[in-house]
């Protein structure tokens, strides 16, 4: 790979998005240079977990950042107020901004922040719940509020002083892949001039315990696509500074590579399992290539989601094979999770950064710990040793719980590149739906508004524990199947039920229910203040 300035990129190319800074904080390196050296030399960050006692447990490996010292990065007050995930996010974001030589203060309102968070501060809150009650005092309440996903993004925004759009993306393990994609779209549509985008997640006992219970973890350091089945958890953060190519050139920014395309899809298949044939991931790869204006043959390397689980590795292999059906060759595929574990919310961003850094050095990163191939996994997974080969373009895959797939296309900054035009048709609202304290369904809601009826009533939820708000606007008489007959609300908490029913009503109001629109062309965006935490809130 080469820098753009050295290749004299024409300045009239618009809406190409480049990476001008990267920041990383991982178990194999706290700077891009350290990370690259570890990949090059095969240095693994996975070891016996130190953060909590695993002496009696079967799964003892994790990729922790063992030498993390908050006081090396934050004041005492900051360190006390930021949870571990937020600390990682801020460290990586600061590093990326410094790396990009970006002076945010000069144009703070045109700088956005998009962070992907999966578990966030969940671990902290859940452990706190076991010993204290959030209404006991202000500190306890703050701890509860500090568990929300947006808190980490908020911490980055405050630390950097960015005043443009601030978005937290939480699409499980695809969070930061989706975050980079969203940032890419913000820049292409000229909403901002620069975006700090990335993801972070800290290793917590709660996350570990959840996956332990699922039986999805590997007893040894993970070996994606290999004979040892299962995932190894990690922690870390990765951030990039993204700018339009022309802006980056104008300000003389270091240009490290290009974010060329993005594609995202949903499997709509299962809560934890990917679609068994990787159908959704394959579509996401196709969409990403389409948005980049590239053919599959242009891809020199695929950084796989490659968690190490049986279901993921096989379905991802099938997805890649489907993408390359009848092709002469399939590019090398590897999983860098074998180095730094599965970093959940940070995974997509870190893996994009690894691919970018390796591409600049013409190194294909390996899958380490790969002793023997797994049945059905028969691609070139670059076993154990980095390989020297030119890398002009790469794909990074994220395939998350809930069936979310996010694929990024990155690569060198070619002198010319023809990106497909963005379609910007006028956007109109065709359907509305309401689930509220003054009515479920539009008719009821309209009537309430017309009559000036308030939904605020005495709050008295049977079985509630602790002090109660005297008045609250609670949803009453919510009967999901009366509103959307085909909805199956089994195993959904109330929050999910509200979202699903509102979406169903909205589609019906738009006349798009009953399969009138291809499922693949229907997207879903749900805004939440807090995630579903029925079990963590008393």
């Amino acid at each position: 790979m080469t820098d753009a300035r050295a290749t004299n990129v024409p300045s009239n190319v618009r809406c190409r998005v480049v990476v001008t800074g990267v920041g990383v904080y991982t178990s194999i390196g706290s700077s891009p240079g350290e990370l690259l050296d570890s990949i090059r030399t095969g240095h693994c960050g996975i070891g016996v977990i130190q953060g909590f006692d695993v002496g009696q447990l079967e799964i003892r490996h994790g990729a922790e950042i063992l030498n993390h010292d908050p006081m090396a990065h934050f004041s005492a007050d900051e360190a006390a107020s930021l949870d571990r995930t937020a600390q990682f996010a801020v460290i990586a974001a600061r590093q990326a901004v410094a790396n990009a030589k970006l002076e945010i203060a000069e144009r703070a309102h045109r700088v956005g922040v998009v962070m992907g968070i999966c578990a966030g501060g969940q671990g902290l809150t859940m452990s706190e719940h076991s010993t204290s009650r959030p209404w006991d005092d202000a500190a306890a309440a703050n701890r509860l509020l500090g568990a929300a996903h947006y808190v980490q993004t908020d911490a980055v925004v405050k630390a950097l002083g960015a005043r443009g759009p601030q978005t937290t993306v939480s699409t499980a393990c695809a969070s930061s892949g989706t975050a980079l994609g969203h940032a890419f779209q913000l820049l292409q549509t000229q909403k901002v001039d620069a975006v700090i985008a990335g993801g972070a997640d800290a290793f917590t006992f709660q996350t570990y315990a959840g996956f332990y219970a699922l039986g999805a973890m590997c007893a040894s350091p993970c070996s994606p696509f290999g004979d040892a089945i299962g995932v190894t958890f990690g922690e870390g953060a990765g951030c990039v500074v993204l700018e339009r190519l022309t802006d980056a050139i104008d300000r003389g920014a270091p240009i490290l590579g290009e974010l060329i395309g993005f594609g995202t899809t949903a499997d709509a298949y299962h809560v934890t399992s990917p679609h068994p044939t990787g159908e959704g991931l394959c579509r996401a790869m196709r969409l990403a290539l389409d948005s980049a204006g590239l053919e599959r043959e242009s891809i020199d390397y695929i950084n796989a989601h490659g968690t190490g689980t049986r279901d993921n590795d096989l379905s991802e292999t099938l997805a890649i094979k489907a993408l390359y059906r009848d092709a002469k060759q399939i590019p090398p595929v590897s999983s860098t999770k074998s180095f730094f574990g599965h970093t959940l919310g940070a995974a997509g961003a870190l893996e994009f950064i690894v691919s970018l850094l390796c591409g600049r050095e013409n190194i294909i990163p390996p899958t380490i710990h790969l002793r023997a191939p797994r049945p059905g996994c028969d691609l070139d997974y670059v076993p154990n040793e980095a390989r020297s080969a030119p890398m002009h373009h790469f794909l990074t895959n994220s395939a998350a719980f809930g069936g979310v797939n996010a694929v990024l296309v990155g690569g060198e900054v070619a002198p010319t590149r023809s990106l497909p035009p963005l379609a910007h048709d006028a956007i109109v609202i065709t359907g509305l739906a309401v689930v509220s304290a003054v009515g479920c369904g539009l008719d009821e809601f309209r009537t309430a508004l017309r009559e000036g009826r308030s939904g605020i009533t005495d709050a008295d939820r049977p079985g509630a524990v602790g002090p109660r708000a005297k008045r609250a606007a609670l949803v009453h008489d919510f009967l999901p199947r009366r509103l959307v007959p085909s909805v199956d609300v089994r195993r959904m908490d109330r929050l999910n039920q509200y979202a699903v029913v509102a979406a169903g009503l909205g589609l019906a109001d738009a006349g798009l229910d009953g399969g009138r629109l291809s499922e693949e062309r229907v997207g879903v965006v749900v805004g939440l203040t807090r995630g579903p935490d029925r079990k963590s809130v008393v």
Binding site: D311, P375, P485, S486, D488, G515
Partner: protein, 382 residues
Amino acid sequence: MHKPGGDAPVPPRGRPGALGRSQAVARYGSVDDEYARIRSGVALADRGCTGKFQIAGRGALEAVNRLVVSDVSRLPLKKLLATFMLREDASILCEAYVANLGGTYLVLTEGSQPDRVASVIEEVCQSVRDAEVADITAKRTLLSLDGPYSWELLKEMVGTSILGARYLDVITDQHIGDIPLVIYRAGATGEFGYWLDVAADAAPELWQKLLAAGMPFDLIPYGYEAGDLCRLENRFINMQCEGATARSILEVNCRTMVSLEKGDYVGRAAIEKTLERGPLRRLIGFAMPQGNDRVALPGVGDAVTRLGTVVGQIASARFSPTLKRGIAVAFLDTEYAYVGLDFEIGSTAGPQLGRTVSAPFVLNRSLGVRFQEHSYLDPEHP
């Protein structure tokens, strides 16, 4: 190579079906062999006797909801719903599967009175505004591919996309060779099952293609005797046995299928009446003492007694090769219909003991088979 429609005795069952036959096939060869293939490999059946009715128009949903006991408005697009059609007295007219094809519904029926089923569907649709019904039974044929490795054979024929199909999915726009078909991920054996819905005139060709492609899988065709055995082992309702003799759907433990939230439908009034006092009988499973004694099986209608009192009647009984014992279902007076009780069952070979057990009788092999891990063709990963 087997051909559909063998020489085995074939009791009447169903309406004229596919592949040029008017009666279902009891067996193609040995029932034990057919059963073994269903349970451990792949087997192919002709479900040509299944009734097929397409209901379209603005009133289609209302019409289908009047026909079946379940609420079809809850059925997502491209999904099947397993349900029943009743008579007015709430006894079961037929087993039914409803497919939501987006504005149009396909109703697949199976029962001992196919002509009566057809006329009920016709009558109901005529009574609903804008509901048009087409009886496509003779135009379409259902073939059934069953067994723990049926997905593997089908994958070779239609591609890997079939592996993602979930139970009761409707997969449209499929092809085997140049034969277009719709696949329903369904079955009545408890093992992985796929119903292939194909034009009747293309069915013989598809049958032959499946037999040819199935050779590496040791595929054989199976008749309804082996199928019924698998049904019983899973406690699925058999419309030729317990389904035909149940006085009410509530006797066969299908309360969860019954909707009281939708409008009127055939049998609703009788169901509501029965619910007021509860059913007088319930279907329950019996396991006989272990032993390879097929002769001592109870017969349909044999009395079930407890301390000398007749408390029920056998509705169906067979010998389970998997369990190596006789199994049966019987309608018992409700107060006796509990698991873990011993009863005396009369049979021609003399009375014998039977213990009530919970469903299903056996755990299907398919529960332990995943395409990610297993393959019929790879002996190292069976």
